[in-house]
Symmetry: C2
Subunit: 457 residues, 2 copies
């Protein structure tokens, strides 16, 4: 029972769709985390659920770990095969299998990226909203329970995956639900696999929700005297039921970075970027409401009604990470992911910024403020041990702060290797339930070993 | 190891909060299903999670089954202790523990009913939306993954429970999440327990989402020439992104029943009851849009802008079940619960009505059309074996039809005993995963044995 035997058998099964080439293995050794890479022994490129099942059976028999791979945009090491074995690259399973316009859903293979799905949806009047920034695969996004800028309106992958097809550790292929909008028929396996980071099974098909494209879209920028005023504006907006599509916070450091990077001239103070979806009249009304609220909290409010202004604005928001890194050329970004009840968001950010004021490292902040979720990109010289240690210290203090404030160490990036040390503190006795589930579904620790939870003995 | 020993020990622990009185046991022997009652050996009335944990430990040691009890409004036998043992009445755990206005959430004990929570919310500007008709407890609603008329806008219990406190089969007390709006930290235990019908643990606390009360509410009634036109109106409304709060279908039989029961004079054809939530302008715009769509499909559209008209309308909708039964005095109602992709809803209803046309039994229909979910209340003489058999036959055909059309046998009432025979057909191999989870969390089958799934040996 060896990994070598598994690789040989997989080679016979897959031909040139099993690669042992160093370049391919290197490419599958790292994701976008600040975590050391680890090469898989080989990389498989399956083309069907049945083939995945066959691969799983071979690997199970030979004790060869399997780490699923989308496009490697995970941020906590989820895609790193850190126990070696097989990297299972789902990239060839990239077909949109069905678009059901009347039902507002689509059935896709896991290697379809979110922009590829939206390209296929052109002309249908529908779109898929979940947008984590990177052009991740839908399989990967389901695995990490991804969300992003418009989760405040459209939800995360938790709300937007209707059903999955999954290959289990014994090679069985299951379906976790139907295309019905809701069901009360048994345990919610769909939600169990969403966010399980490839530790319970391999997703081979997804049914996802779609939405009608809004008739009208408008955007606005509001500049605040301080973070607390921006957060109060967000809280009031949501309490009043204004269905904002996006309500993103950027701190003064991030605005400075964006101004420089995108050649803009926004006031360098805490700022909300807003987007409104609806009818023409509805969008105007939403924007007016939020403008009034923001004014009460001392904001300057600026419209971006023209499509080109709106595009420039959201291009600037989307490039925030790169803009941040450009503040310090050659730097790497260590990205944090705290999420707290929104009533604690201003405090959590204030304490975090007090830490930063005493740190030699610069760290622009962006936040999905409507969800209480914010990220720092701590800029560091990747070669400097001292700076890595300082980034780790800051990141650790943010994770502990989020827990102390009744939140979570990860709002949307997931656990992987990076947040695994916090699982006991976050979940207490409930971690034992997760471990029991892992052992029940993957008793030999075949899937993505080392990630999220240590359950297998 | 006997149930008698358990009951004696619980009596010493709980005093008069353990009842063996026949009347109390009778009261806990049945829910609102068409299923034969079964008396528990005793009924316990715990007052805290710690007390529930102590009760669970005693029962686990003595092999005494535990069936949690809310107010007994479940519709598939979930609350019937059909293996005897202990009925665990959560009614004394009925406090609202916290209302967090800024965070739009509340922390409640499981015995709080939805109307009690909304009464507590008076004056905060917030409300809890999930409304299954009955004034169920929130614990029970979480257990059955309840939804109801406004799920199309606000979601079901799946979307509206943020976190739970649960007592496990070994007496451990866990928390399944935080008050953060989203999290990517590990397996989604909240969603696993929501809908588990008391088979995995006892819910002792819930954190639920709240919403700002809409500034304006309006309602409308649209009468259609046929079911298909009504359903097309629903599909188009949702595709266009009109955020209807309620869009309920009543067939001509149900309208006849409602007219008679509530002294109304609606056209006796398939009808949609609609409710709109939003700003004054938003509500007017939504209603206008839907009015245009309905007109395209041949509907007569009638406003109910005055609060008293609206109240009368929704009172009529809420009394639909009783109105239906009044069509045949002395009858019982056998309620079905199919849910299909909305593109199949008109077909599913048409086939169902063809069955009814050939049946001696009358069965008014109401549907949460936006979710593809509809109910018949099959009216039968509860003393007639022939009629029970005919109701069972019709119900069986509806369940099989829902599965054939890619749907589920239960949109919102759950599995319990009534839908258990369909679990294998609906889930296939995935049922084995549910069984593995049940065995992992409740290896001795302590919690609600006999319900949903046979996993323990």
């Amino acid at each position: 029972m060896t990994i070598e035997t598994a690789v040989a058998a997989l080679g016979r099964m897959l031909g040139d769709r099993l690669s042992e080439a160093p370049a391919v293995r290197d490419q599958h050794a790292r994701d976008e985390a600040h975590i050391a890479p680890c090469r898989p022994r080989a990389v498989a490129f399956p083309e069907s659920a049945e083939e995945v099942a066959e691969i799983v059976r071979v690997c199970a028999a030979e004790g060869c770990p399997i780490t699923p791979w989308g496009v490697g945009t995970s941020l906590e090491g989820q895609a790193i095969p850190d126990h070696g074995g097989l990297s299972l690259d789902m990239g060839r399973m990239n077909r949109v299998l069905a678009i059901n316009v009347d039902d507002l859903d689509a059935v896709v293979q896991p290697g379809v990226t979110r922009t590829a799905l939206n390209a296929e949806l052109k002309g249908t009047g529908l779109f898929f909203p979940v947008d984590p920034g990177a052009d991740a695969t839908l399989g990967g996004m389901a695995a990490t329970r991804a969300s992003g800028t418009n989760a405040v309106r459209y939800g995360t992958m938790r709300e937007n995956v209707l059903a999955l097809q999954v290959v289990l550790a014994d090679g069985r292929i299951i379906r976790t639900g139907s295309r019905a909008r809701k069901s009360a028929a048994g345990y919610d396996l769909t939600r169990l696999f969403v966010g399980s980071e490839g530790t319970l099974g391999v997703v081979t098909e997804l049914t996802v929700r779609l939405y009608g494209q809004p008739e009208a879209v408008s955007a606005a920028v509001a500049s605040f005297p301080d973070i607390a005023s921006a957060v109060r504006t967000v809280i009031t907006t949501i309490q009043m039921g204004v269905p904002v599509a996006r309500i993103e916070l950027l701190d003064e450091v991030q605005i400075r970075a964006v101004n420089a990077y995108s050649n803009l001239a926004m006031a360098e103070t805490p700022t909300l970027f807003l987007e409104f979806h609806g009818t023409e009249a509805g969008v105007a009304e939403q924007a007016e409401r939020v403008g009034e609220i923001a004014a009460e909290f001392g904001a300057g409010f600026e419209w971006a009604t023209k499509p080109e202004d709106r595009s420039r604005l959201w291009a600037a928001r989307h490039s925030a990470y790169w803009a941040g890194r450009a503040l310090r050329p050659g730097s790497a970004g260590w990205v944090t992911d705290a999420c707290v009840p929104i009533s604690r968001l201003a405090d959590c950010i204030a304490e975090t910024k007090a830490d930063l004021a005493e740190s030699p490292l610069l760290a622009p902040l962006v936040g999905h403020a409507g969800d209480g979720n914010f990220h720092l990109a701590i800029l560091l010289d990747p070669e400097s041990e001292t700076e890595r240690a300082e980034a780790a210290r800051l990141s650790h203090r943010i994770a502990e702060r989020a827990l102390r404030m009744g939140g979570t160490v990860t709002g949307e990036h997931g656990v992987g290797l990076g947040k695994k040390p916090y699982m006991a503190a976050e979940h207490g006795e409930a971690l034992g339930v997760m471990a029991a589930i892992k052992r029940a579904l993957d008793p030999d620790g075949l899937f993505n070993p080392g990630k999220m939870i240590d359950a297998n003995r």
